[in-house]
Assembly symmetry: C2
Homo-oligomer: 202 residues x 2
């Protein structure tokens, strides 16, 4: 963009700020800015306030690292959860998805990311020491690794397995296999290969 | 998302506000929220303030409808621009692109949109009356329609041509043709067809 173009400063600043969002290029940022200013000033106001409130009110749960408004999140503070099980997920949405199964009554630890050397995210950035300290509280017996089944999620799981086993903890990983309700014809080969390897007695 | 999940309210509000942005679904909105809160709190702060400042400081130029901090934008207030030429564009980015050619010395009118019946955007929503009043100030001799060469941009241009011609104004449209520097092999058929119809003496 030509620097001499008479674009008002507040508009330029807004486009620049929107460009910092992940996955937003300069064209999307402009489209968003025009849309907010022209067609959704209420939405713009709401977003401005939501950002300020979130920054001010959210912190990390002292035990599980998830976002919370208090020292402890509602899950960690729930005395009916089983403290011997700790499920490690990449982000809060993953925890929500697991909760929606209503099949898990243990606790969680949210990494807020996954190992990604190319993006400069290593064990230090993810504060693995903090997870290890949490997992070694004496109450946790088993750590269930529920990172994604992507290359980066798998690498994270392998790395954590080593660290946690070395501390005498039982470490497990979510099962790989054919999704419930699937027809084999439509399941990809990699998934089928794993389902064969990890086959169980019928 | 299960309403019973213990997600903190400020996080939920932020995700909802981000979802209102054009082209942002719930998954992108979550990714943006986590990124801002976890990795770019400075960016979150900046976006919050940029939105507030833009809402507070930007208004529409009284003459051209572009965003401006004053009653008149810098272009409209420039006495060296030719007031007999008025170029109609869809949005501020289009004006910037035309300015970057350094080939136009007239004035602009920014529609802030284009006709789109399916989205409920008609002549009333685009305030065509305001454009007509502007074009009939007695100084404008020619209106150059520089809306996009998309179906909606073309429809807008056709519609405006009728309205402006009926008021005795000369109306022109940007030329269609082969882009400068193109090899014919790579130019799409529709463009070539127009270039043939609008061929000129060599
Ligand atoms: Zn917690
Ligand atoms: Zn203006």
């Amino acid at each position: 963009m030509d620097a001499q173009l008479p674009e008002p400063e507040p508009l330029k600043a807004l486009v620049d700020a929107l460009r910092r969002l992940p996955g937003v290029g300069v064209r999307s940022a402009r489209r968003m800015a025009y849309h907010l200013l022209q067609n959704d000033q209420v939405g713009a106001q709401r977003l401005s306030q939501a950002l300020a409130s979130a920054l001010q009110q959210l912190r990390h749960c002292q035990r599980c690292n998830n976002f919370t408004e208090d020292d402890l999140c509602a899950t960690c503070a729930n005395p009916r959860r089983d403290p011997s099980l700790l499920c490690v997920v990449e982000n809060p949405a993953d925890q929500n998805t697991l909760e929606s199964t209503h099949g898990y009554r243990g606790l969680y630890y949210v990494l807020m990311g996954r190992l990604s050397p190319l993006e400069g995210v290593g064990p230090v950035e993810l504060e693995f020491e903090r997870l290890l300290k949490r997992a070694c509280d004496g109450e946790v017996k088993e750590v269930i690794l529920a990172t994604n089944f992507t290359p980066e999620g798998e690498t994270t799981a392998h790395y954590l397995t080593e660290l946690l086993r070395a501390r005498g903890l039982t470490v497990s990983r979510l099962a790989r296999g054919v999704p419930a309700g699937s027809e084999l014809e439509y399941v990809d080969a990699g998934t089928l290969a794993w389902a064969l390897i990890e086959r169980r007695n019928a």
